[in-house]
């Protein structure tokens, strides 16, 4: 089991307990998760992501088998291609991007270029719809959610694009999925960290309509309880409980 949606580091708008790599290692062992893709949470709010990427690499250096670094690449920043190449050379399976936090609109050309360049290197592009529930956000947290239009635009950018969208809910997933051709749909995977279970059974409905292989395991630790997505899978109705999740390793 790979958790594609974890971070280390603090969050600017509230205290998060123990967002350290050592704590994440203990959580993975306790919850029988084999590997985590790990981003650097403060970097989502930095203008220049390079210092955060260096910090991430340093923090994960002693645990790279378990904690795989997912650095940030900001495609409207000079020399972003070097940052992407460095991530690739460092063995990163993916890079993260935060268009709302950078003020990049849904049809930003630089984001499309990043999606293609990332895919070209055999890496995935991890996007974050939200870090917190809209209703609890700090007054200064005004970036807003990643839009469905932005995800559609990236999925349509070309065959090489491979995107993992984290922290999306059912409505956004359906809006994007059914707004893409079957070929474009194959470029997008969704993590299950924010999808509702019973009694609405939104995860089960998505498995039935879109297919379980479009979904991957993600928790959004340390912001959210690591137990939540597993509980969601445990409570699936019988007809979908054995359906396999998709894989980030083979990209579909």
């Amino acid at each position: 089991m790979i958790d594609v949606n974890t971070f280390v580091g603090g969050y600017p708008f509230r205290h998060v307990p123990h967002p350290e790599p050592a704590a994440l290692v203990r959580v993975l062992e306790r919850d029988r998760i084999d590997v985590a893709w790990v981003g650097h949470l403060p970097s989502a709010f930095y203008r220049d992501p390079a210092p955060g990427n260096r910090e991430l690499r340093a923090q994960l250096a002693s645990n790279k088998r378990l904690l795989r670094p997912v650095p940030v690449v900001r495609p409207d920043w000079p020399r972003w291609e070097h940052e992407l190449r460095a991530a690739h050379d460092d063995g990163a399976p993916a890079v993260r991007a935060y268009p709302p936090q950078w003020g990049l609109g849904p049809h930003d050309a630089a984001m499309r270029e990043l999606a293609l360049a990332t895919g070209e290197l055999g890496m995935m592009l991890v996007l974050t719809v939200r870090f917190e529930d809209l209703r609890q956000r700090h007054a200064l947290d005004v970036a807003g959610d990643l839009s469905a239009a932005a995800i559609r635009a990236l999925a349509r950018s070309g065959d090489r694009a491979r995107i993992v969208v984290t922290a999306a809910g059912r409505e956004m997933i359906e809006e994007v999925h059914w707004g893409l051709t079957p070929r474009e749909q194959e470029r997008v995977l969704w993590d299950i960290s924010w999808i509702w279970g019973p009694p609405e059974d939104q995860l089960a409905k998505l498995f039935r309509t879109i297919g379980s292989r479009r979904f991957v395991f993600g928790t959004q630790w340390p912001l959210r309880l690591v137990q939540n997505p597993r509980a969601n899978l445990d409570l699936l109705p019988d007809d979908v409980r054995e359906m396999p999740l998709g894989s980030v390793e083979r990209g579909a």
Partner: protein, 293 residues
């Protein structure tokens, strides 16, 4: 049948909802069936539930008309009667219709309701709620009050209250007990803890879709396990996740039992949960909460 995912110890869901044909959803029966299915899998002994008028179909969810309130309560009475081994009922009322609200409380409590559900039809500290709180105290019925954690502004579709609003009502009615709805249901729970910590007749439930790390730790550290109730509201997977998180937080057996079921048994009228409980009286909850501090 496999063992319940949350273990075999008693478990009371203090914040649940059911649906009916008048709710305007064609899948209403599926929703109810899903709650029972997931409840069995988790190991829920009792669902304490309400029906919220027509859920917006013929009047707004948080401002239900008297007719919708009555229809919803009728539906809830039917479900509770049909599922008496595992379902208990809150009577839902809209305090803007005082006579109707009081009549509904009488009517439904006489038929087995064990608590009162208040939505967001009127701010929690509004004097209009006093008569309902008086009845709640008199009859030993806890009041489950819909809450937005830290109300910083007005939000559409509801006259929302937060922990500070509910605390003012609770202070005026020290003999009544109030369940503060869904710590994980949106807003800033960190504001709620200090808002109610000194008001021993306010008992937050941990339900809601929010599963922020630190929320349960804060609730236990500041309020104590004797003040918290387990619940699921609209997301039962978050309820199961919170039970698992409480276990790894290192709470002792007593604290876990308090949150899982014992605080609910103390709060609701004696004899409400015969499959679990010794016949404890209503006001044990406040005494226990005070002792625990």
């Amino acid at each position: 049948m496999s063992a319940p995912l949350a273990g075999t110890a008693p478990l009371i869901d203090a914040h649940a909802h059911f649906y009916y044909a008048g709710a305007g959803r064609s899948d209403w029966a599926d929703l109810n069936a899903a709650r029972f299915r997931a409840g069995e899998r988790i190991g829920i002994t009792y669902h304490v539930a309400s029906v919220l008028g027509s859920y917006g179909f013929s009047s707004p969810t948080y401002f239900p008309s008297p007719d919708d309130v009555t229809a919803g309560n009728d539906a809830m009475l039917d479900i509770a009667a049909r599922e008496q081994d595992r379902v208990r009922m809150y009577v839902t009322v809209n305090p803007n219709y005082t006579d109707h609200a009081l009549h509904e409380i009488d009517r439904c409590v006489d038929r087995g309701a064990i608590g009162i559900k208040l939505l967001a039809s009127r701010r929690a500290d509004d004097p209009l709620l006093d008569v309902i709180a008086d009845v709640a105290a008199e009859r030993g019925l806890p009041v489950l009050h819909h809450i937005w954690q830290h109300r910083r502004r007005e939000w559409p579709s509801q006259e929302i209250s937060d922990g500070a609003d509910l605390a003012r009502l609770a202070l005026r009615h020290p003999r009544a007990n109030f369940i503060l709805a869904h710590l994980g249901g949106g807003g800033d729970y960190a504001h709620t803890f200090p808002a109610v910590v000194d008001v021993p007749n306010v008992f937050p439930d941990v339900s809601g879709s929010g599963v922020d790390r630190g929320m349960l730790d804060g609730a236990v550290a500041i309020l104590g396990a004797a003040r918290l109730l387990w619940g699921s509201d609209l997301t039962m997977e978050t309820g199961l996740a919170k039970l698992r998180a409480l276990e790894v937080m290192g709470l002792d057996e007593n604290a876990l039992a308090d949150i899982r079921w014992r605080n609910a048994v103390r709060l609701f009228p004696g004899g409400s949960f015969p499959r679990i409980a010794p016949n404890l009286g209503t006001h044990h909850a406040q005494h226990t909460a005070l002792r625990a501090r």
